[in-house]
Amino acid sequence: MKLAFILAYKNLIGAGLRTWLNVGILAFAFILIIFYNGLLDGWNQQARLDTINWEIGYGELRTDNYDPFDPFSIQDAHKAYKSEEFPMLTPILIRQASIYPHGRMISIALKGIPVDQSQLKLPTSFLTSEKETIPAIIGKRMADAAKLKEGEEVLLRWRDKNGTFDAMNITIVKIFDSNVGNIDASQIWISLEQLQTMTGLKEEATYLVANEGYSHEKISGWTFVSQETLLQNINDIIASKKISGSVMYLMLLAIALLAIFDTQVLSVFRRQKEIGTYVAMGMTPGQVVVLFTMEGSMYSFLAMLVGGLVGIPIFTYLAMNGISFPDVTQDMGVTMASRIFPVFGVQLILGTMVLVIVSATIVSFLPAKKIAYMNPVEALKGKLQ
């Protein structure tokens, strides 16, 4: 084996440019696979963390008739709760309303949340104000869409529980910046107590956000949706991205493997005398097959080496500084940080190495196995077989 390894190495280095072209393209595929998957893993990790911290906590306890995907359900989606019965939960009440910034009408979801909550990262402590108007916090996207600034007042129109219109000015006391579009776009957050008073829905909530210590027991009229169910959307997006991305890098890998395969076919064809000599000198055909397969798979080892030399500095830089992305995806409701820090885990790197080595070895073996059926004498004479 050691002899085969040394011979394979010498043969490859001796092949010069041909070897380095194969190694180059394989190394590029290797780097690309790790980069793309690392980027998706980084996105996934950040998106999950941000969603937990800003939106869903450790699950949601929803009123039975609340469907977040059906805005028409909001009108009736409220139910009385007793805070002492739900100490582990942060109540949130949603009502539909309109604001009139600069003479435009914008429909919004008006959300009430306890001022003193600490479960979600929303800066609710700003919701206490001595002013006559209602203090409100909004996200960056909402502020951009409505062209609102901190300290600005805007007229809010809503309906109470009986459907009667009411209107009052709100003051934007804080504009927060979150990667989670679901708690930002077309939404205004005010104090829960204030919203309950405004709408006449005392001690009522649309859903409650669970904290880490909450363990659910069936409660009539409420449905618990677990954290993992709520994160399923992100998982699905990432899984879909991984599949669509894999088409690109698997094609690149296939080209690299095809190059190795061609090289191997050519080697077996052109080096028949050499094969015959190996056998004449006492190597079994199996050992010659191992030698040629070793040569082929050594492309992948060299590709790892080159990929490591080129990739490690790049990956280290990207992992530390991240990659900037436009806000478009967040505006569409996809949770995505404006700067993603790729995560290059051991599992990802080892998995990619195994994939490249195994596939390179297989495509090297396929042409080389022909050697086992060669007539050594004919081979030594260099006759075509």
Partner: protein
């Protein structure tokens, strides 16, 4: 459409039983002047957007304040769209999809064809006497006409507008303006009637401007082209089957 707006604003005052006898008398006179058993109207709705002005023509059939049927005549995009109101239910037929949908819940709060009027504004068919208490607030001159100012305050909880103010022409017994208020006292919508003409012996506004005062713009105009009072309207008009005809 225009008819429905007038009905939404004024027709229910027919049996208005306000605490102040004066207000009641005034509203009864207005009702006598404005309301007919059935009506057929042809009207235009002028919707002023930020970039363009859209004119939508329609023909409406109305019976009391419970039944109405409207067919949109132009522009081409809206032609053939029909709307049927029977009591508290509203259906819309769209010829492009050949579907009839019933509007309910929040859909009723949407704007009618992008105007300043919501479907819900057209749906209010309870008598004002059942849901408001009114009094004469005073008198003033509006558009050169002497008017009474009537203030109506909600006497029940489930009304859209807590307070209404109506300006009524003292000579012709016709409302010239109405304002709708939120609970906080914030003015929300204003309706202005103008181009008052005598038609078949009744004083009638040929133009109504309906404006959501919180929004920019000049509001939506309803312009009456033709009106027939108390014509005979076949019963089949007020059926769902007529939507697809």
């Amino acid at each position: 459409m225009k008819n429905q707006l007038i009905i939404a604003c004024l027709l229910p005052i027919w049996t208005f039983q306000v605490k102040a006898q004066d207000a009641k008398t005034i509203l009864e006179r207005v009702d006598k002047n404005m309301v007919s058993k059935t009506e057929i109207t042809e009207s235009e709705m002028v919707i002023r957007g930020k970039r363009n002005v859209q004119t939508i023509g329609s023909k409406s059939y109305t019976e009391g304040n419970q039944k109405s049927f409207t067919e949109y005549l132009y522009p081409e995009r809206e032609r053939g769209t029909k709307m049927l109101k029977l009591g508290d239910r509203l259906w819309i037929y769209s010829p492009s999809t050949d579907r009839t949908i019933q509007l309910s819940g929040h859909m009723l709060r949407q704007s009618v064809m992008g105007s300043d009027l919501s479907y819900e504004d057209m749906m209010e068919d309870r008598k004002l006497s059942e849901i408001y208490e009114g009094k004469v607030q005073g008198e003033e001159t509006l558009s050169g006409r002497k008017v009474w100012i009537l203030e109506l305050i909600a006497s029940v909880e489930d009304v859209s507008y807590y307070k209404r103010m109506i300006w009524i022409d003292q000579e012709r017994y016709i409302p010239l303006q109405e304002e709708l208020f939120a609970k906080s006292g914030q003015l929300l919508k204003r309706t202005v009637m103008s181009e008052i003409e005598q038609i078949e012996g009744r004083w009638y506004p040929k133009k109504i401007n309906f404006k959501d005062v919180l929004k920019g713009g000049e509001g939506t105009d309803f312009i009456l082209k033709k009106v027939q009072f108390n014509p005979t309207i076949p019963d089949y008009i007020f059926t769902k089957a007529s939507l697809k005809k």
